[in-house]
């Protein structure tokens, strides 16, 4: 007897349809799984046998062969357990054949319970069947992509009852609304006018932002307030982000969909693979992908391993990470906004005359931050601790809500250009959207001629100036003051030879 069940496995952030073929025939009792299962997938044999027996069914003492097709794709994890169990039940005539019309996703417990799997969202999208049976906890997630076709089960016994028509299929519970997000407010930051301005511009244009300053300057405090300035994700982006989070095994919010832009702040000891994704089998998405659609915040940028940082260059440039391993490769989306904070030197006091770093220590610190990486920050702002008098006396700054309104208005203008934010404009679009007036052009020409601005710098300044104009609701062309403000927000950080004095 043969039974063919539809299911899926996960590669990167994408589901791969998998056909589970179960063949039960006479012969010496044996249970073999073929078709490139990984270790956890092969262990399905023991889980399925115990689960069937505990559910009051018999496990056929016959020759059972399970083939997972296509056999070229490695199947990862226990998500195929349920499909294999259904296949055996049908092939041994313990379940009606109509059960094969649905697709199945779920891990089995030895007691016959059906457990949720990682990546239910992308896998549900991949299963090619008119309806889909998943674990109760995966219901809302799967319902995001195939809303009307999802059924949920708690145990094998329940599944059999429903399949035999003795009780109705249960449907996933609708997600509850999210509790209001609790993000720190910008009003709590005193002083630091330029840094606040940079934060607003970063939020409006999606520009990569770098804070440089001694410890205690409020760099982290500022960066943590960026999510509060960002609006909700568009429905398409929200689904994309939810897919990534589902594939990475992150808990989705109670409403089901990730609607707030994610804010990921990995520690500086994070490895390259954890940052950009990879791993030997599943090619799991890394922090860069989890931050897609939102903010990747790297605190203490200078302490990250140079390899990890350089691996970020491709996603910064192309918005995706392509990870390739010997047997598989995957393209992981990684359209994040990079926000970083760093000390000017290991002790943090460079330039104040109180720096205690050795020459060699300083050189080592700077070698970690390659020029190309620093070049990719559109906004580079020096932050210094606010004087205690200002901390106590200064009136609280604008609250996040006010700034967020301006940001939202600027984003509307950016969307009119066909992109989510100005960062995503390519060179041609940028040139068309942001012409300079005469005075601005002269100013920039002199800056380039005198070597104060590089070609790449020019493009970054143009993008930031466009965002500034969007924030102020000033139509093109861009004026000299706007361009000068953009230049002032991009502090020149040329590391390497300043202390040699031999300039």
């Amino acid at each position: 007897m043969l039974a063919i069940v539809r299911s899926a496995t996960l590669l990167g952030v994408h589901g791969q349809p998998v056909t589970v073929e179960v063949h039960v025939s006479s012969g010496l009792p044996c249970f073999a799984i073929v078709g490139l299962p990984d270790a956890s997938c092969r262990e399905a044999r023991d889980r399925v046998r115990a689960a069937l027996l505990c559910s009051g069914r018999t496990f056929p003492l016959m020759r059972i062969t399970v083939n997972l097709a296509p056999s070229g794709v490695r199947k990862v994890g226990a998500g195929l357990d349920l499909a294999i169990a259904v296949g055996i039940l049908v092939a041994s005539e313990q379940l009606p054949k109509d059960a094969l019309a649905a697709g199945y996703l779920g891990e089995l417990g030895l007691d016959g319970s059906v457990r949720p799997v990682v990546g239910a969202l992308p896998m549900a999208a991949a299963v090619d069947a008119p309806s889909l049976v998943v674990a109760e906890a995966n219901g809302p997630e799967a319902a995001l992509v195939v809303p009307d076709r999802v059924c949920t089960v708690g145990t094998i016994a329940e599944l059999i009852e429903c399949a035999e028509g003795r009780s109705p299929w249960s449907r996933p519970r609708p997600g509850e609304p999210d509790p209001p997000a609790r993000v720190p407010d910008l009003a709590e930051v005193r002083g630091n006018l330029v840094a606040r301005r940079a934060l607003e511009v970063a939020a409006a244009g999606g520009h990569h932002l770098l804070f440089v300053g001694p410890p205690g300057g409020g760099k982290t405090m500022l960066a943590e307030r960026l999510p509060g300035l960002l609006g909700e994700l568009s429905p398409d982006r929200a689904l994309e982000v939810s897919t990534i989070h589902s594939a990475a095994g992150q808990a989705l919010p109670r409403s089901g969909l990730v609607r707030r832009p994610p804010f990921r702040a990995p520690h500086h000891t994070t490895s390259q693979v954890a940052l950009v994704g990879g791993g030997s089998h599943a090619l799991r998405p890394g922090e860069a992908s989890l931050a897609s659609g939102g903010v990747l915040f790297l605190d203490e940028l200078g302490e990250f391993s140079p390899h990890a940082l350089d691996a970020l260059r491709q996603p910064l440039e192309q918005g995706v990470v392509r990870v390739a391993r010997a047997h598989s490769s995957a393209t992981l989306p990684a359209r994040f906004q990079l926000v970083a904070a760093m000390n000017p030197c290991p002790c943090g006091a460079l330039g104040t005359g109180a720096c205690r770093c050795s020459e060699a220590g300083l050189a080592r610190y700077r070698r970690r931050l390659s020029g190309p990486l620093l070049d990719r920050f559109d906004l580079r702002v020096l932050v210094r601790p606010t004087a205690s008098a200002d901390l106590l006396a200064a009136a609280p700054g604008e609250p996040s809500a006010v700034v967020a309104d301006r940001v939202a208005a600027a984003r509307v203008r950016a969307r009119a250009r066909g992109v989510e934010c100005n960062r995503e404009l390519d060179a041609a679009q940028l040139e068309a959207a942001a012409p300079f007036d005469r005075s601005a052009e002269q100013l920039l020409r002199r800056a380039v001629d005198e070597g104060r601005l590089s070609g790449r710098g020019l493009r970054r300044v143009r993008a930031v100036a466009l965002t500034l104009a969007d924030l102020a609701d000033v139509p093109a062309p861009l004026g000299a003051a706007t361009v000068a403000e953009a230049m002032a927000l991009r502090a020149e950080l040329r590391f390497g030879d300043e202390l040699g004095g031999a300039a």
Binding site: N192, L193, T352, A480, A481, L489, E498, G500
Partner: protein, 386 residues
């Protein structure tokens, strides 16, 4: 001590290559006669015939056995290295205690250090200071180096990072200026630190680079203070530009004081650790160096009419291309702090919107009144070349 014969010079050079064979042992070799000293050393004794004190003497016979004095000599000649020995007419007279005199000096470059006693040599000033110089220290050192060379003063320094390098960078390539002199701790072919390679070449090309050790010797730690005493000995005045409270430059200053060489110190901001040492020198009664004129007066040289500006700053408000200066421009220049200010600090200091401040800064940069480095804006100190 009379002039040495060529054989003795070669043997002395070979002795100088020995491990742990410093200026004191070379001097005692000269005192007892190089040939006799050689005889002692090949048997593992001190050059004056005494029993060897240190462990390094045990290796001397084997090391000498491997050496060919003629070949060593030829190598130095081929590299264009001049060698003078204590007692030679060309050996520089150093303002040092006789016990501190280097027994041999190696130098390369068109200008021998104080060698030509028949001509009036130019006055020389050592510019020393911390390797971890701030922007202020670098600017002041560069400016002093430039103006001293312009005024006909030989600038002496150690080609280290920070103040040393800045002083030499200011002094090289001054049209009609006096070429600088560098004293280094290792052999003349061992460029250290490597970052200063170009500057090293420039000094060698115009003035001279001097060392106490033969070619190929690594600059070991103890060589640096030894080098500093030669810097002091070759100078009429030592100017400490920037120094931390515990810095090598303070040791140089006390060496100078012991040798009777006047020490001057550049005052710095009291908030800057890099100026704590120099400010302490001032408190101890050392003469302040505010402008190049202070140094020239101390040297007894008439200040050149062009060399009178304050060190470290040009007056932006009276700058020539300042016709379009607005109150904002002036306020910005006034708000610039020593060591540079970030845009954020400037915006808060002048209370103007970022766009206006940015535009004014760009204009000030275009007029070369302000320079941006590492995100900080500072006044330009370097005078326009005359």
């Amino acid at each position: 001590m009379s002039a040495l014969g060529p054989g003795d010079r070669r043997r002395l050079l070979a002795l100088a290559h020995l491990e742990g064979f410093g200026p004191a042992r070379l001097r005692s070799s000269l005192r007892v006669g190089v040939e006799r000293a050689w005889g002692y050393v090949v048997t593992g004794r001190e050059p004056d015939g005494g029993a060897s004190a240190g462990g390094s003497a045990r290796g001397w016979p084997a090391q000498l056995h491997r050496m060919d004095p003629d070949e060593l000599w030829d190598r130095h000649v081929a590299a264009g290295v001049q060698i003078t020995v204590l007692g030679d007419p060309g050996h520089p007279e150093l303002a040092l205690d006789p016990l501190d005199h280097p027994a041999m000096l190696f130098w390369r470059g068109p200008h021998a250090p104080r060698a030509d006693v028949t001509r009036r040599r130019p006055p020389s000033v050592a510019l020393v200071g911390t390797r971890r110089a701030t922007r202020y220290g670098v600017e002041v050192a560069r400016d002093l180096g430039h103006r001293l060379a312009q005024a006909g003063v030989e600038v002496v320094s150690g080609l280290a990072l920070g103040v040393d390098a800045a002083a030499h960078a200011g002094a090289v390539g001054v049209p009609g200026g006096t070429p600088p002199l560098a004293v280094v701790a290792g052999g003349l072919d061992v460029v250290y630190p490597a970052r200063n390679r170009e500057l090293w070449r420039a000094v060698e090309h115009q003035g001279a680079v001097v060392s106490e050790v033969p070619l190929g010797q690594r600059p070991e730690r103890w060589r640096f203070p030894a080098r500093n005493r030669i810097v002091v000995g070759l100078s009429d005045i030592v100017v400490v530009v920037e120094s931390h409270l515990r810095g090598g430059s303070l040791i140089t200053a006390s060496l100078a004081a012991d040798a009777g060489v006047p020490v001057m110190a550049v005052p710095g901001p009291v908030t800057s650790d890099a100026s704590a040492g120099t400010n302490a020198l001032l408190v101890d009664g050392c003469a302040p160096c505010r402008t190049v004129d202070d140094v020239l007066l101390a040297l007894g040289v008439d200040p050149a009419p062009s060399a009178g500006a304050t060190v470290g700053a040009t007056d932006a408000t009276s700058g020539a291309p300042g016709a379009h200066r607005s109150p904002l421009h002036r306020a910005l220049v006034d708000a610039l702090e020593v060591g540079g200010s970030s845009v954020g600090e400037l915006v808060e200091a002048v209370g103007a919107p970022l766009g206006a401040v940015g535009l004014a800064l760009v204009e000030l940069e275009e007029d070369r009144l302000v320079v941006a480095e590492h995100g900080r804006y500072a006044r330009t100190a370097r005078p326009a070349p005359p």
